[in-house]
Symmetry: C2
Subunit: 294 residues, 2 copies
């Protein structure tokens, strides 16, 4: 069996279509050091994006450590086992003068919206939305590396994808407003702090946003198991890129797929028809990340 | 920054240590066709592995389609929206003469152990355990590609990892008996049918199992974020391999790590300290899969 090639009738299937051709990748760039959190676009108004309640130790630690938004209060369960992470959380809260309320475990669990808040619940200002045009620009030598989600509504998958994207070095995520996007406590917990680092743009519709990104020079890559080309054959290095994922049930919408520069699949070697969207996103994000380092 | 190299003091860091050296990868092998389900080791007795209750449409479909174990009954919620998948499930149940009970949605949800059984609950014989020695042997030209889990107890992560491994072409999984391994309905649902295809060996202790695998010629690769070598620098192609993952909280145990031929990390480019174990497993499984196809 030969490896899959690019869709459509153009020759040289491993090149993105439409005559645009990514430049030869330059020397690997490391981007900004891992310690430097990305900042919000600045102008983003407080919005319906959510994120006001943050539970789970990793998520709360990142919320306090980045200082990207005001934390109104921190609830901590009495009688927790000592842990370096809890000590760090309390030290960070103290340094930021965040009021800390010690409550019973039962009371904390009652205040929590997730099954396992791990003894900590923080209440914060809602997340600010980032501007899509800002996300399409290079910042501090990092060319845009975006994750665009079309209809991923399961909170665990959404949170897991944001965490994965942040770990892969993504510079932002794009979420459509009308497909139930809201950073609930379950999303925030699964994201494990990624929402404090990853700028999030909320758009009216994903197809229009993809057009806007393409006009700004961002390569849009749709993940679609029916695509002919493999993600491993993508001719992309350090170019600005947006990885576009659809919902688990129905995949990318036809319209979103049409607006992508190229569609790729992840080669499957087993009997099951498809990966979970969070796993597919992890494979694709890290394949793009690997290329960006050359 | 230079790419990470192998741990330990031996020269040629990208080669696994201990003088064993994987042979030069031959031509890519495709293994058996995707439609052919893997079979249990045969001698495996019915055990405490679980799997008796299967919920969720994809998981129930695979259970019925593979015919790898007897299904005692199928509960179906009345008044579901028509769906090709539900029709397929009912056809498969009819063909296999599985008794179908139509119950109210409330009754089905009461019988279910997961939050979203999607209108179907099947009750089956428990899963049979596979034999570790069998998993260490090539079957039908497929060299062993195993996933060994050391302490992954979260049912969503465990199920997701089994699904991912199956999609990556893994030939089996190894689970330690004493760290809460049990294929609960939540695991079965998250695995989306992978448990019907992927032989599962349950072992008394993972370190001893890793020694056994190494003696059988299987390369054991531990995933450890503190390892010096990157997963992308692994000198492995189509050799027999076991990918060893630890728990999210504490990672691989020291003993399990010591028993691995080589430890590798996944390069992180963001601010967060680590990937979720299911995402890390997806990246590593598919990196190994990519190499196995050449």
């Amino acid at each position: 069996m030969t490896p899959p090639r690019g869709r459509g009738s153009s020759a040289g299937g491993s090149q993105p279509p439409r005559g645009r051709r990514p430049g030869v990748a330059g020397p690997p760039r490391r981007g900004s050091p891992p310690g430097a959190p990305s900042r919000r676009g600045g102008r983003g108004a407080l919005s319906g994006l959510g994120g006001e309640q943050v539970e789970g130790r990793h998520a709360v630690r990142e919320l306090l450590a980045t200082g990207s938004r005001r934390v109104r209060e921190l609830l901590v369960a009495d009688g927790m086992d000592p842990s370096a992470l809890v000590t760090e959380i309390l030290d960070l809260a103290s340094a930021a003068r965040v009021p800390v309320r010690r409550v019973s475990r039962a009371r904390l669990d009652a205040a929590a919206a997730t099954d396992a808040p791990q003894g900590v619940v923080a209440r914060a200002e809602p997340l600010a939305e980032a501007d899509l045009d800002d996300l399409a620009r290079s910042v501090a030598g990092r060319s845009p590396f975006l994750l665009a989600l079309d209809g991923v509504t399961d909170p665990h998958n959404l949170g897991a994808l944001l965490r994965t994207a942040e770990c892969a070095g993504a510079t932002g995520a794009v979420l459509p407003r009308h497909r139930a996007v809201h950073v609930t406590p379950a999303v925030a917990k699964a994201a494990a702090g990624a929402i404090e680092h990853l700028p999030l743009a909320v758009v009216a519709g994903l197809p229009a946003a993809l057009t806007q990104l393409r006009r700004a020079g961002v390569w849009t890559v749709g993940l679609d198991q029916d695509a002919e080309q493999s993600v491993y054959d993508l001719a992309l290095g350090t170019e600005p890129v947006a990885l576009v994922l659809g919902s688990e049930g129905s995949g990318l919408s036809r319209l979103a797929l049409q607006r992508c520069d190229v569609a790729v699949h992840i080669p499957q070697r087993g009997s099951l028809p498809s990966l979970n969207v969070a796993a597919a996103g992890a494979v694709a994000c890290f394949e793009l990340a690997r290329r960006r380092l050359g």
